[in-house]
C-alpha cells in the first residue's frame, strides 16, 4: 500500500516537473504584451499541424533552452496557449466594444487623438480586430483585405478539407524528432564513426529550399488571418522568425559536445560536420517560385545554381503575397512523407613536402596522357606525382592529394643534386599526427619502390610554404649541366672567353615547342655564368647558372634564331644540345621546423644532470621540504 502511494507521489512529482517547466515558459506569454499577441497565431499554426518548435520559431523567441526542452514540455506549452485563447478573445471583444461605443458617441478628433497616443498598442490591435470582424470600418486602414479571411483553417480558395498529417508542414519533420533518442542515438553513432583526427569542430546544416518557401507561405497565412499590423507587420519574415538551421544547431550542437566530447569552434574550425536534409515530396516546390519570377532572366543559369537555396531565397523577394495566395499556397499544403538526411565530413587539409630527384629521361612531373600518341610519343607516360602520391594516400586516408612543385623539368631532363622542392596538399586527411620516424618510413617506402625517382627531407610543412615554392620558381637561380655539339670544330682556347662571362642578357621568343600553351612573347633573361669543359673538337660539357624561367635548350640550339644571342651564335657556328640535367635549385626547402629546433635547444639545455643539480641545491637550502615527494 505504501509503495503504491509513493509511486503515486512519484508520478505526481514527475508530472509536476514538466508542469513546472510549462508554467515557466508560459509566463512570458501571459504577462508580456508582445507575446500575448502571438498566442492566437500560435494556436492557429498548431491547428494546421505545425510542430511546437516551429510554432515557437514564429514567435521570434531566441531562448536556446526552450528549443532544447523535451517534446512533452513543448506540447504542454502549446496546450497552455490554447487555454489562454478564450481569455484573450474576451479582452479583444471588450476593447472592440469600447471603441465602437466611442465612435458612436462621436467624440472630438482631439480626444480621439489623445487616446491614440496613450494606448497606441491597443489601437493597433483594434485595427486588427476591425479588419478581422468588420470590413466596413475602413477609416484608418492601410490594409486592403479582399475577402473575409476567417472562413476556414484550410487553404485559401480551396474547397476540399485539409487532410491531417503527422508531419509539420513548416520544418518537414526535421524539428519534430530531433530531440528524441530514436533520432539522436543513430545520429551520434553516425557522427562518431567519422574516423577523423581533429581539434575543434563546427556544424553546418543545409535544408531543402521548400522550407524557405513554406516559411514565407505560413507567414502570409498569419498575416491574412490576424492582420498585417502588430506582430506580423514585417513583410519579410526572416527578420522575425528564428531560422530552422539555428534551432537544429542549438539542439544538436551541445549534445555532440556532451556525448562525443568534441570541442566546438564556430569559425575556422578544422573539422566540419555537414548535415544535408532532403525531402523528395516537396523537392519541386521551388519551381513555382522560379516560374513566377518575371523580373529576372534565369535561363542562362545552370541547374545547380537554379535549384540552390540561395537562388530561391533571392527570387522569393520578387514575388508578392498575392502570387502565393492566388496559387493556393497560403497556407502550404500538408506533407505525408518523412525527411531524410545525409552526413558528410570535411577536414582542413595538411601539407607535406620534401625534395625529389629524377634519374630517368622519360618521366614527366605530373600525370600526362598524350592526346596524339605515335611512335615518338608513347601512350602512357610515367610521372613523378604518380610514383609518390599513391603510396602516401593510405597513411593519411584522405580524399585527395594535390601535388605541386617549384617549377618542373622536361620529360627528357634529369633532376640531380639535392632535388626539386615539392609539396602535397592532403585533403580531408583522417589521420594527421605522424612522428618524424613515420615520415622517414614513408620516405623509405617511396625510395625503395623505384630507382627512377628518389625523395628526401620528407616532412610536414606549413600551409604557406607553397608561397616559398612559387617564389623559388620565379626568382631563384637554377644550375644546369648539358652536353653540347658544335658543327664547326673548335680548340680549347676558343672557350676561354666564357670565363669572363657574367650576367649576359639574352632575348628569347617563346619556344615553338611550348607555343601551344604559352603566349607568344619575347622574354629577357640572364645567363649568370657558363663553365665549359672541352671533351673533343665538337663536343663540350657546359655548366650554366641561369635566371629562373630561362629556356636552356633554346639558348643552346637557338630555336631557329628566335633566341638571341644563343650559344651557337656565340661560338660562331651551329650548336645542338644532346642532354640536359638540372643540377641545383637554389632555395632552402623544407625549412627547418623552427618550433622543433627551439624545442631541441630547450631540451639540450635542461639536461638531466642540470635538473638534478638544481634539485640538490634546493634540498640543501630547505631540509624540511626534503621529506616531501615530488
Amino acid at each position: 500500500m505504501s509503495s503504491s502511494q509513493t509511486e503515486l507521489t512519484d508520478a505526481t512529482t514527475e508530472e509536476s516537473a514538466v508542469e513546472k517547466k510549462v508554467k515557466y515558459y508560459l509566463t512570458p506569454f501571459t504577462e508580456k504584451l508582445k507575446l500575448r499577441n502571438h498566442v492566437k497565431g500560435c494556436v492557429a499554426l498548431s491547428d494546421l499541424g505545425v510542430c511546437p518548435r516551429c510554432v515557437i520559431r514564429f514567435t521570434n523567441q531566441k531562448s536556446l533552452p526552450l528549443y532544447q526542452e523535451k517534446e512533452e514540455v513543448l506540447n504542454g506549452i502549446i496546450e497552455g496557449m490554447r487555454k489562454l485563447v478564450p481569455e484573450i478573445q474576451e479582452e479583444e471583444n471588450k476593447r472592440k466594444g469600447r471603441k465602437e461605443k466611442k465612435e458612436k458617441e462621436g467624440k472630438k478628433d482631439s480626444d480621439v487623438q489623445m487616446e491614440d497616443t496613450s494606448t497606441k498598442k491597443d489601437d493597433n490591435k483594434d485595427n486588427n480586430n476591425n479588419n478581422n470582424n468588420d470590413n466596413n470600418n475602413n477609416n484608418n486602414n492601410n490594409n486592403n483585405n479582399t475577402s473575409s479571411p476567417e472562413q476556414s483553417d484550410g487553404g485559401e480558395g480551396s474547397s476540399t478539407p485539409r487532410q491531417k498529417s503527422i508531419y509539420c508542414p513548416a520544418c518537414l519533420g526535421i524539428l519534430q524528432d530531433i530531440g528524441t533518442p530514436a533520432f539522436l542515438d543513430k545520429f551520434m553513432e553516425n557522427v562518431r564513426q567519422n574516423g577523423f583526427e581533429f581539434a575543434k569542430y563546427s556544424l553546418n546544416v543545409a535544408v531543402p529550399s521548400s522550407i524557405l518557401i513554406r516559411q514565407q507561405e505560413i507567414w502570409y497565412y498569419l498575416r491574412r488571418k490576424f492582420g498585417k499590423g502588430g506582430v506580423y507587420h514585417k513583410s519579410a519574415p526572416t527578420e522575425c522568425i528564428i531560422d530552422i538551421k539555428e534551432v537544429a544547431k542549438w539542439i544538436i550542437g551541445p549534445l555532440i559536445v556532451k556525448k562525443l566530447g568534441y570541442q566546438y569552434k564556430s569559425l575556422n574550425s578544422d573539422f566540419k560536420i555537414h548535415i544535408t536534409y532532403h525531402h523528395p515530396e516537396t523537392a519541386q516546390e521551388y519551381l513555382f517560385v522560379l516560374k513566377n519570377d518575371r523580373k529576372r532572366k534565369r535561363n542562362q543559369d545552370a541547374d545547380e545554381i537554379r535549384d540552390s537555396v540561395s537562388n530561391v531565397f533571392k527570387t522569393l523577394r520578387f514575388l508578392t503575397e498575392d502570387d502565393f495566395i492566388a496559387a493556393g499556397k497560403v497556407p502550404p499544403a500538408p506533407i505525408f512523407t518523412p525527411y531524410s538526411y545525409k552526413l558528410s565530413f570535411e577536414r582542413e587539409p595538411i601539407f607535406i613536402g620534401g625534395r625529389y630527384n629524377k634519374y630517368a629521361r622519360n618521366i614527366s612531373q605530373s600525370p600526362w596522357a598524350p592526346r596524339h600518341f605515335s611512335t615518338r610519343v608513347p601512350r602512357k607516360i610515367l610521372s613523378v606525382e604518380e610514383m609518390i602520391t599513391p603510396i602516401l594516400k593510405p597513411y593519411f586516408n584522405c580524399s585527395d592529394m594535390i601535388f605541386s612543385a617549384s617549377g618542373r623539368e622536361d620529360i627528357d631532363v634529369r633532376m640531380l643534386g639535392d632535388g626539386r622542392p615539392f609539396l602535397i596538399e592532403v585533403r580531408n586527411p583522417r589521420r594527421v599526427k605522424f612522428s618524424p620516424e613515420e615520415y622517414k618510413k614513408m620516405q623509405d617506402e617511396i625510395n625503395q619502390s623505384t630507382s627512377l625517382i628518389q625523395i628526401r627531407s620528407f616532412q610536414r610543412v606549413g600551409r604557406n610554404d607553397v608561397l616559398l615554392l612559387k617564389d623559388a620558381e620565379e626568382n631563384k637561380k637554377k644550375h644546369y649541366r648539358c652536353i653540347v655539339w658544335l658543327e664547326k670544330p673548335i680548340k680549347p682556347e676558343d672557350l676561354d672567353f666564357l670565363k669572363e662571362l657574367k650576367d649576359m642578357k639574352i632575348e628569347q621568343k617563346t619556344p615553338v615547342r611550348v607555343l601551344h600553351r604559352r603566349s607568344l612573347a619575347t622574354r629577357v633573361r640572364l645567363v649568370h655564368s657558363i663553365k665549359a669543359e672541352y671533351i673533343n673538337s665538337n663536343f663540350l660539357r657546359l655548366d650554366l647558372i641561369t635566371q629562373a624561367g630561362t629556356y636552356v635548350k633554346e639558348f643552346i640550339h637557338g630555336d631557329f634564331g628566335r633566341t638571341s644571342p644563343n650559344f651557337g651564335s656565340m661560338m660562331n657556328t651551329k650548336a645542338d644540345i644532346l642532354q640536359l640535367d638540372v643540377m641545383k635549385i637554389d632555395v632552402e626547402f623544407p625549412l627547418p621546423d623552427t618550433r622543433q629546433v627551439r624545442k631541441d635547444i630547450r631540451e639540450h639545455k635542461m639536461k638531466k644532470d642540470h635538473i638534478q643539480a638544481k634539485k640538490e641545491d634546493y634540498l640543501k637550502r630547505a631540509p624540511e621540504y626534503a621529506k616531501e615527494e615530488y
Binding site: L515, R517, L520
Partner: protein
C-alpha cells in the same frame, strides 16, 4: 645523330607545277614552320637573292594571349612573301590553313639566311592550325619519303649534322 628538326618535327612538303617546292615542318604540338624546300629553284640552282619582302600587313601581325588571338588567317594559297633574284621573282605561299603567328623578319635584312639555312634560321613563318585541326592541315601535303622519292636528283638528308655519338654522357 638527329638535329632539332629531325627530333621534334614531322617534315611535309608542297609544290606547284613549276617545281617551286616549300616545306611545312610540323612540331608534335601542331605548330607549323614554313620555309623553302631543297627542290625550289632558289636552292636547287643556288640563286642569289637580291631582295624580298613580306608586306606591311604581315610584318605588323600581332597575336595576344595564350590562344594567340588577332593573327591573320591564311590559306594554303595565300601569298607569304615575294623573293627577287637576279633574273626572276618567286612568290612563296603559306601552304596550310591556319593563323599566322610570326614571320621571320630577319631574312628581310639578311636574305642569305634563307638560302643558307632554309630549314632553321632561314624559315619563313610560323603558322598555327585551328585547334583540333592539327592533323588535318597536313593531310594533303607530300610526306618526306614521297618527296625525295620523286626527286632522285636531290640529296636526301639522312644525317644533317655529322658525327656519331660514341661517348656515354650519363654518369
Amino acid at each position: 645523330m638527329r638535329s632539332v628538326v629531325e627530333r621534334y618535327y614531322e617534315e611535309y612538303f608542297f609544290t606547284n607545277d613549276g617545281g617551286e617546292d616549300q616545306f611545312v615542318n610540323q612540331h608534335s604540338n601542331g605548330m607549323c614552320v614554313v620555309g623553302v624546300a631543297p627542290g625550289h629553284p632558289l636552292l636547287k640552282d643556288k640563286k642569289t637573292v637580291t631582295g624580298m619582302y613580306y608586306g606591311t600587313a604581315k610584318l605588323r601581325n600581332k597575336v595576344a594571349g595564350k590562344s594567340k588571338k588577332g593573327g591573320m588567317w591564311v590559306e594554303p594559297e595565300t601569298t607569304l612573301c615575294v623573293v627577287g633574284t637576279n633574273d626572276s621573282r618567286y612568290i612563296l605561299k603559306c601552304g596550310i590553313k591556319g593563323e599566322l603567328l610570326e614571320v621571320n623578319a630577319k631574312i628581310q635584312d639578311k636574305p642569305s639566311l634563307m638560302t643558307d639555312y632554309p630549314r632553321t634560321e632561314g624559315f619563313l613563318a610560323l603558322i598555327m592550325p585551328r585547334r583540333g585541326q592539327e592533323a588535318l592541315v597536313t593531310k594533303n601535303l607530300i610526306t618526306f619519303e614521297e618527296y625525295y622519292e620523286d626527286r632522285p636528283y636531290l640529296v636526301k638528308p639522312t644525317k644533317l649534322y655529322g658525327a656519331e655519338l660514341e661517348i656515354d654522357f650519363d654518369e
